[in-house]
C-alpha cells in the first residue's frame, strides 16, 4: 500500500527524469522499474537529514540512468567544445541569446538542447525546470555545489555556441 502511494506520488517525476536521459521509452520503462525496486529495497538507507525523499529518489533515478547509459554504450554524437570556443564567449553575448524573450530563439534553444550530452541536459533541466537548488543538484549528481555552478556556466555557453553554429 505504501509502495503504491509512493509510486503514484513520485512515479511521473522519476519517469520524466529517466526518459530525459535515455534514448527510448522502452529503456526508460526498464530503468523506471529498477529505480523503484531499488527504492523499496533500500528504503532503510534513506537519511532525511541529507535530502528530501524526492531528491533521494531523484538521485537513485539519475544514477540508474547514467549506469544504464554506461553499460549499454550507445553510440550517440554530442557537441563537444574541444577548441574552447564556447568558453571564449562573453557573458553579455550569452545573456543576449538566452535572456531576451524571443520565440525564434526558444526554438533554436530546443534544437540546441538535443546536441547536449544527457548529463548536461539533465543538469540544466533540474536547475531551470524543476527549480532545484544547487545543493540538491549536487546531491543528486554526487558532486559539489561549486562544480555544479561551473558546469551550468559552461553548459549555457555551450548552448550559445551551438545556436551560433545552427544559425551560421
Amino acid at each position: 500500500m505504501a509502495q503504491q502511494t509512493m509510486v503514484e506520488r513520485y512515479g511521473r517525476h522519476v519517469f520524466n527524469q529517466v526518459v530525459r536521459l535515455l534514448p527510448s521509452v522502452e529503456d526508460a520503462e526498464e530503468v523506471y522499474q529498477d529505480v523503484f525496486l531499488k527504492v523499496f529495497l533500500n528504503i532503510n538507507m534513506y537519511n532525511e537529514e541529507k535530502a528530501s525523499f524526492k531528491t533521494w529518489v531523484s538521485r537513485i533515478a539519475y544514477n540508474e540512468s547514467i549506469t544504464w547509459l554506461r553499460h549499454k554504450r550507445r553510440e550517440v554524437i554530442y557537441f563537444e567544445d574541444q577548441d574552447g570556443e564556447a568558453e571564449r564567449l562573453s557573458e553579455t553575448e550569452v545573456e543576449a541569446t538566452l535572456g531576451h524573450p524571443n520565440p525564434e530563439t526558444v526554438q533554436l534553444i530546443r534544437a540546441a538542447l538535443k546536441h547536449l550530452p544527457p548529463e548536461e541536459r539533465s543538469l540544466i533541466t533540474m536547475f531551470y525546470y524543476e527549480e532545484m537548488s544547487l545543493k540538491d543538484i549536487a546531491y543528486v549528481t554526487d558532486s559539489q555545489t561549486t562544480t555544479i555552478a561551473s558546469k551550468l556556466f559552461r553548459t549555457r555557453k555551450k548552448l550559445c555556441k551551438i545556436i551560433q553554429m545552427i544559425q551560421s
Binding site: 509502495q3 512515479g11 519517469f15 520503462e29
Partner: protein
C-alpha cells in the same frame, strides 16, 4: 559569488527556461500500465527475496548441524581396536605355489644352488648323496664351527627346501593354488610387534657380553699404557 550569480540567472534566462519547459512537455507520456507492471515485478522480486532468505535460514542450521555431527563422529569414533583390524582388509591374496619342477628344470635349480654360499653348497651336496631329509643334514651342520642356534634353524630350513626341490613327489605334480591373506605376512602379525621373552633374554645376554668385552678392552688399554710408561 559564482553560486549567487547562478541563482539570479535562473530568473534571467527566460528563453532557456521556456525552451526547457517546452521540451519537458514534449516528452513521451508515461505508459498507463507501467505502475501496474512495476507492482507486479515488485511482488515477484519480494517473493523471490523472501524465498531466498527463508531457504538460507533453513539451510544454514542444517549445514552447521551436519558439520558438528561429522566432527563428533570423527572425535568419538574409537581408534581401531587391534592393529590387525586395520591391516587386514579381508581381501585374500591369491598366490600361486611354484609348480613342481620337471626333470629339465632340476639341473638348473641345482646350478643356482651351487652359485650360492658355501654353506648352502654343502647342504646341496647332501641331497645328492641321497640323504634328502633334514635329520641327516643336521649332524653335518653340527660339525660346522658356528654353533649358533638361529643359524642352524635357518640352514635346516634351507635343507628342507632343497630336499623338497630334489624329490618332487607325486601329489605335488598338480598345480595348487593357496589363498593367502595379509595375516600370513609375518610383518602384519601383531604377535611380531613385541619382543618375545626369549628375544629379551638374548638381548640382555648380548648386552652383558658387550659390557664384559668393553671392560676387557679397557683393561688391555690400561695395561698397554702402563707397559709403555714402564719402558720409558
Amino acid at each position: 559569488m559564482k553560486e549567487d550569480y547562478i541563482e539570479t540567472l535562473h530568473q534571467q534566462d527566460t528563453n532557456l527556461r521556456d525552451a526547457i519547459r517546452l521540451e519537458e512537455e514534449a516528452l513521451p507520456p508515461m505508459p498507463a500500465d507501467l505502475n501496474a507492471r512495476l507492482m507486479q515485478r515488485v511482488k515477484e522480486e519480494m517473493a523471490k527475496k523472501a524465498t531466498k532468505r527463508r531457504r538460507s535460514r533453513v539451510l544454514w542450521p542444517m549445514v552447521a548441524a551436519a558439520c558438528v555431527a561429522a566432527l563428533i563422529v570423527v572425535f568419538l569414533t574409537p581408534p581401531k581396536g587391534t592393529p590387525e583390524d586395520g591391516m587386514s582388509t579381508g581381501k585374500p591374496v591369491a598366490a600361486k605355489v611354484e609348480k613342481p619342477k620337471t626333470d629339465a628344470e632340476v639341473p638348473q635349480a641345482e646350478a643356482l644352488q651351487k652359485v650360492s654360499t658355501p654353506q648352502e653348497e654343502k647342504v646341496a651336496e647332501q641331497p645328492k648323496a641321497k640323504h634328502p631329509t633334514a635329520t641327516t643334514a643336521q649332524p653335518l651342520l653340527a660339525q660346522e664351527a658356528v654353533p649358533e642356534k638361529a643359524a642352524t634353524e635357518e640352514e635346516a630350513a634351507v635343507i628342507e627346501l632343497a630336499a623338497e626341490q630334489k624329490a618332487p613327489e607325486a601329489p605335488r605334480n598338480e598345480t595348487a593354488t593357496v589363498i593367502l591373506t595379509e595375516r600370513d605376512i609375518p610383518i602384519t602379525r601383531p604377535e611380531n610387534y613385541k619382543y618375545t621373552p626369549e628375544e629379551i633374554a638374548l638381548m640382555k645376554k648380548q648386552a652383558n657380553e658387550a659390557y664384559l668385552k668393553w671392560v676387557e678392552l679397557e683393561l688391555e688399554i690400561s695395561k698397554y699404557t702402563l707397559e709403555k710408561m714402564a719402558q720409558q
